[in-house]
């Protein structure tokens, strides 16, 4: 059994230790807001916060999470920074199809928790998730609004 702290709740789960955290979240625990996009850490749709840092959960074997707290999109509004990010996302109407946006919101929340007033370069370095609908400009505007 592997013990996980997710969104403030303790979970005891019986999965293969090499299972990526992504699939534990989606298929074992049922938190489907975190998305599978590429499985190789390229697209960022699976981004979650581990100990407050944005991490691509498809690249994180569940056995290496340990006691670090995991935050997913389902609980991001409980975090004051995350709540600001979501409000900016809704206000600016960032999403189109929306599939990548859980990951984008988590990446932005991770950035702003660590760097409340990021420079353009810091935004560029942190916001590398792919969006096939091309919402990049709206994402940048929302990050700046949430940072303000």
């Amino acid at each position: 059994m592997i013990s996980l702290s997710i969104n403030g709740h303790q979970h005891s789960i019986d999965v293969d230790p090499d299972t990526p955290l992504l699939f534990v979240l989606r298929d074992t625990i049922g938190l489907t807001g975190t998305k599978y996009g590429c499985g190789i850490g390229q697209c960022g749709a699976c981004t979650v916060l581990i100990d407050g840092q944005a991490i691509r959960s498809c690249q994180m074997p569940v056995e290496s999470v340990g006691a670090q707290p995991v935050t997913t999109i389902e609980a991001i509004e409980a975090d004051p920074v995350g709540a600001r990010v979501v409000a900016a996302w809704v206000g600016i109407e960032v999403p189109q199809c929306g599939y990548c946006q859980s990951g984008q919101v988590m990446a932005a929340s991770g950035l702003l928790k660590e760097t409340p007033n990021p420079t353009e370069d810091e935004i560029a370095a942190a916001m590398t998730n792919l969006c096939r609908c091309g919402t990049y400009n709206a994402i940048a505007a929302a990050v700046r609004q949430a940072a303000a």
Partner: protein
């Protein structure tokens, strides 16, 4: 057995080891596919006939008219709208709520919209039902307004009876019926049940557009909060009790079949693995979690049947995209006439100058971020529930019924929101996973979810066809074009998938963007040479326009150069008799702060140039300007200015964002994308080897909407086609290099 013969009904197998799907041949499997579109198109008629037989109350006289099929007005005054369309980012749910809410007199914010199940009421796209071709709003706008107005009249009639007052003494205001004389009011929810039992009138007057309260306004989208908080549900998120997870390994060469599995016993013994199944062109591993199924599928050691050495019966061992392009280039046939005007022969005979060029564009993947999946569940009565991303529910219902050996009405299609589509979710035979889910649910006797890994999706996705065109222009002594000959070579998705419906020998999806141009070139000839592709081809955002407007508008710049004219001025001169287009071209120049081709030095010291283009896609008109510089031999696009005239709009905010989204995809294809085949196999299997536009390459996008009042055009696709030629024309202005083959990533650019 012909291609449409249903498969034998296979009893629900309970043994994990049983494999009733083994005997389905690929031909039978694909046979379903090739007949499927006809089947789908016949369905509304059959279903309508059946509905009529049930009595006059259920008659769907005309799609889009039966209020109860679309609207459920709840007691709290909110509305559940069953939409003919599927939401995949284009904003159609919000647009429909605005359109119906306007005439119903109910705030669009109170609508909850979901995609309707199959049914004849929803065939509102010229008698068909689909979400595509940028058709949704323009095809249904009048019908949906009328639906809202009809529903409002029924509410008024029911309220008049309830209050015992004349109907014409009543008015409405945002979800309430008001009797001004007595001050009494009734919420829509209070009279909805009585209203929906009334016979709808078919002569209800629509509002005067000058009184519109929501249509034409940037009303807030309905789906933003769910999409910003992970609550939006896509097909990939569906979870059912007792559901098994399936992962697949597809044949490396399309059209080959599994012969033997060397390690089948080992795979079956892997932890959590339920069973292993041979499918048409694939082997599936079913397990208690998708990760375990996938590990099993990737570990399978499958011996596949041999692909043909050459030809198009399979994607042959020798097939390559380079060889395919060479085959298109090598055609010598004259082709079928697609468009002819004037006397090109005579014009070429006395031309002052003749120029020629050849253009090509590659196969493209949809690369929507949601990998395709499907969930199939048979119920105790033998009927089937299918959750499946799709752009055409009735078509999928028909194919699912054939696959399952059921009648269509025994198949319930659930159409979740799409995690991007861009044409991905029409039915494309082996590129569509839901038949696998049906076969596996049958074989296991359990609900099954099939999910293709990103790698399998890159292997199996139906691709935008690799395309090729030849141009030849005659110029007069003044440098103006007097004749243009164009030959389009290849095959398009209309011919491949809808050939039985659109019987024209000329495939419109191969020539669109080369025909019906607004330019006054007096002598023109456009021919079509059909060369079929062995690979699965698809609709891809803006379809034929996605490459043809790049071809045509690039060659038009070559004509300008050969005639010593500025490309913007040449276009304006050719549009003298087309005020709508001339206005649009002027608008985009104003948006860009005036036209200047360059090269010029920008404020940041970089050398830049601009390119211009026009396009007439999907009933709308666009004019585009791109500004480009070079970094390390690569084009860097700083700004895109796009003016679009769709006639009129429902939600300008959604229009702007869709134009920006389409422009991003157009730029991605211009700069980066190509599906390359070597030795019969696709080379890229994930985003590391098939790069798509990322944030660092995203330009500023400036959009101007011109509402000319022309018949309403499409929005989802038209922003795309102008981008590739505008960028490539800017590159030519900056470097002197005329790039006639996309993507630009193949060419190292250097400044002049």
């Amino acid at each position: 057995m012909n291609d449409l013969t249903p498969h034998h009904r296979l009893g629900l197998a309970s043994s994990p080891a049983s494999e009733p799907v083994r005997n389905l041949s690929r031909r039978g499997f694909l046979g379903i596919a090739s007949g499927a579109l006809l089947l789908g198109i016949d369905l509304p008629k059959e279903a309508a006939a059946q509905t009529r037989a049930e009595g006059p109350a259920a008659v769907a006289a005309k799609p889009g008219t039966r209020v109860a099929a679309f609207l459920e007005i709840r007691t709290d005054g909110s509305v559940r709208l069953l939409s003919p369309f599927v939401e995949g980012g284009q904003g159609i749910n919000t647009g429909l709520a605005q359109t119906i809410g306007e005439e119903l007199d109910l705030d669009p914010a109170r609508f909850a919209v979901e995609c309707a199940p199959p049914g004849p009421d929803y065939a509102v796209v010229n008698g068909l039902r689909m979400t595509g071709g940028s058709f949704s709003t323009r095809s249904s706008f009048e019908a949906m307004r009328r639906l809202g107005a009809t529903a409002r009249e029924m509410l008024l009639r029911a309220a008049a009876a309830r209050l015992a007052v004349p109907q014409d003494s009543l008015t409405t205001d945002d979800g309430r019926v008001i009797h001004a004389a007595s001050g009494r009011t009734l919420g829509y929810g209070e009279v909805a049940q009585a209203a929906l039992a009334l016979l709808p009138r078919d002569d209800v007057a629509l509002k005067d557009p000058k009184d519109f309260r929501w249509i034409g306004r940037p009303v807030a989208r309905l789906d933003m909060r769910d999409k910003a908080t992970g609550r939006a549900t896509y097909a990939i998120d569906i979870r059912l009790d007792a559901m098994l997870h399936a992962a697949v390994q597809h044949a490396p060469h399309l059209g080959t079949e599994p012969r033997a599995i060397a390690n089948e016993a080992e795979i079956r013994a892997m932890p959590g693995v339920h069973s292993v199944h041979r499918l048409p062109g694939a082997v599936a591993v079913v397990a208690d979690s998708w990760w375990r199924a996938r590990k099993g599928a990737e570990a399978l050691q499958v011996a596949w049947s041999e692909p043909a050495a050459e030809g198009i019966a399979t994607v042959s061992a020798a097939f390559s995209s380079a060889a395919m392009l060479a085959a298109l280039k090598g055609t010598t046939e004259p082709g079928l006439p697609a468009e002819q005007e004037g006397d090109p022969d005579a014009a070429f005979a006395k031309a002052a100058k003749v120029i020629e060029a050849e253009y090509d564009a590659p196969y493209l993947a949809h690369a929507q971020l949601e990998p395709p999946s499907a969930v199939a569940r048979f119920t105790a009565d033998g009927s089937l529930d299918l959750w499946v991303p799709n752009q055409m529910p009735e078509l999928f219902q028909g194919v699912a019924a054939k696959t399952a050996g059921l009648d269509p009405e025994q198949v319930r299609i659930h159409s979740p929101m799409l995690g991007g589509f861009f044409g991905r979710h029409f039915f494309y035979g082996p590129a569509t996973p839901f038949p696998q889910a049906i076969l596996l649910a049958k074989a296991t006797g359990r609900p099954v979810r099939v999910l293709w890994s990103r790698e399998e999706e890159f292997r199996m996705d139906a691709v935008r066809p690799l395309s090729f065109a030849r141009f030849k222009a005659a110029l007069g002594p003044d440098g103006m074009p007097v004749a243009l000959r164009t030959t389009a070579v290849g095959e398009g998705p209309i011919g491949r998938w809808f050939g039985a419906l659109f019987k024209s020998p000329v495939d419109s999806s191969v020539v669109e963007g080369l025909d019906k141009k607004p330019y006054a070139i007096p002598n023109r000839q456009l021919d079509y040479v059909r060369v079929p592709h062995p690979v699965t081809i698809a609709f891809w955002r803006s379809v034929g326009h996605s490459m043809n407007d790049y071809f045509y508008e690039s060659f038009l710049d070559e004509i300008a150069a050969a005639g010593g004219r500025d490309p913007f001025d040449l276009r304006m001169a050719l549009l003298t008799d087309s005020p709508r287009h001339a206005t649009l071209l002027r608008t985009v120049a104003e948006l860009a702060g005036g036209w200047r081709r360059g090269p010029f030095t920008a404020e940041d010291g970089t050398r830049r140039a601009r390119g211009v283009s026009m396009a007439s896609p999907f009933g709308s008109e666009t004019a585009t300007i791109a500004e480009v510089s070079l970094t390390d031999g690569e084009a860097r696009v700083h700004d895109l200015w796009i003016a679009i005239d769709p006639g009129s709009v429902v939600n300008p905010a959604i229009v702007r964002r869709q134009v920006e989204s389409a422009a991003a995809l157009g730029l991605s294809s211009t700069l980066l994308e190509q599906v390359v085949y070597e030795n019969g196999q696709r080379q890229a299997r994930n985003f590391d080897s098939y790069p798509i536009l990322d944030r660092t390459r995203m330009p500023r996008v400036h959009v101007a909407i011109v509402e000319s009042g022309a018949p309403m055009g499409g929005i989802g696709e038209p922003g795309l086609p102008g981008v590739p030629p505008a960028v490539v024309n800017a590159v030519a202005a900056l470097t002197g290099q005329r790039v006639r083959s996309l993507p630009l990533a193949k060419t190292r650019l250097s400044g002049v």
